[in-house]
């Protein structure tokens, strides 16, 4: 039986104007990735300063310099519609890579912050 599950992966941004790249692995029983969402503990920094590249199974879904604000949803969006729809991607080797870039923006002052990548997945129930 298939069931919906949400995955969260965190990266830490500790320096202004830096690039952080991390690869995460999904469980083997995940069969589809339906959506992507990014959030942060300091939303304004992510909104104004962030860009990222996202790859799933070595396939690029969002290229370099894709602004984080385009993958964020505020509280005005209903919870069921907050994820960016990828249309049910097969995860292949299950590797999800995020390459996040922080860039100065005139409206914010840098302090270390966390970026969370959420994935809306479908997994095979092992039971």
């Amino acid at each position: 039986m298939l069931k919906a599950t949400k995955k969260r992966f965190d990266i830490k941004i500790t320096q202004a104007n830096s690039k952080v790249s991390e690869t995460f692995e999904l469980e083997k029983n995940i069969v589809k990735v339906h959506g992507v969402l990014v959030t942060s503990d300091k939303d304004d920094l992510l909104y104004y300063r962030g860009t990222q590249k996202i790859e799933i199974n070595k396939e690029e879904f969002f290229p370099d310099n894709y602004e984080s604000k385009l993958l964020m949803s505020g509280i005005n969006v209903s919870p069921k519609q907050r994820y960016y729809d990828l249309g049910g991607v097969a995860p292949g080797n299950g590797r999800v890579q995020i390459e996040y870039k922080d860039l100065d923006d005139g409206r914010t002052v840098f302090t270390p912050y966390r970026v969370s990548l959420y994935l809306d997945c479908e997994m095979e129930d092992e039971l």
């Binding site: 304004d44 310099n65 604000k69 949803s73 505020g74 005005n76």
Partner: protein, 162 residues
């Protein structure tokens, strides 16, 4: 099989009223252009671009709605068709986002916390030639009457044949 992709183009603006012509190269296997959206980032210090409140004019009605700040004008043209296929006013954040919300004292309304979901504007253009001509005109610097540095990003969504 068709696959979606996005091409990102940065336009750097340095001078007031600057006009930029640019080209967006598409991959050879592009079939259609399916959407366009834009974003941007301010490079200058914020005090350069702060929106000054309008002076109170006693005896006149002050509207609740505020005007969104116009940053510039963006136009795109496909090489094999006449006329622009995309034309937009590039606007800053929605300044009326909190209108009618009386709970603002504890949770201030901001784009990054209360913003709507962003989606591209849908267009459907053949992509037989692989170049898009673009044109951007600065309005922000012109309005403030000073040179303001910022960057506009144009996202062109495409359908690629695999």
């Amino acid at each position: 099989m068709m696959k979606e992709g996005v091409i990102i183009t940065k336009i750097g603006i340095k001078q007031k009223g600057e006009r930029k012509h640019f080209q967006i190269k598409l991959p050879k296997d592009t079939k259609f252009i399916i959407g366009v959206e834009y974003g941007g980032r301010l490079i200058d210090r914020p005090e350069m671009v702060v929106i000054e409140p309008r002076p109170r004019d006693e005896g006149h009605f002050t509207p609740f709605f505020k005007r969104n700040e116009l940053i510039g004008e963006l136009k795109l043209q496909s090489c094999e068709e006449a006329n622009w296929f995309y034309s937009a006013d590039v606007l800053a954040n929605d300044v009326n986002l909190g209108l009618g919300d009386f709970s603002q004292s504890g949770f201030p309304v901001n784009d990054f916390s209360h913003g709507n979901k962003r989606t591209e504007e849908i267009v459907k253009i053949d992509a037989e030639s692989t170049i898009i001509q673009g044109w951007y005109l600065d309005v922000l610097g012109k309005t403030k009457n000073r040179d303001i540095k910022y960057e506009v990003k144009v996202y062109v969504w495409i359908n690629v044949e695999e």
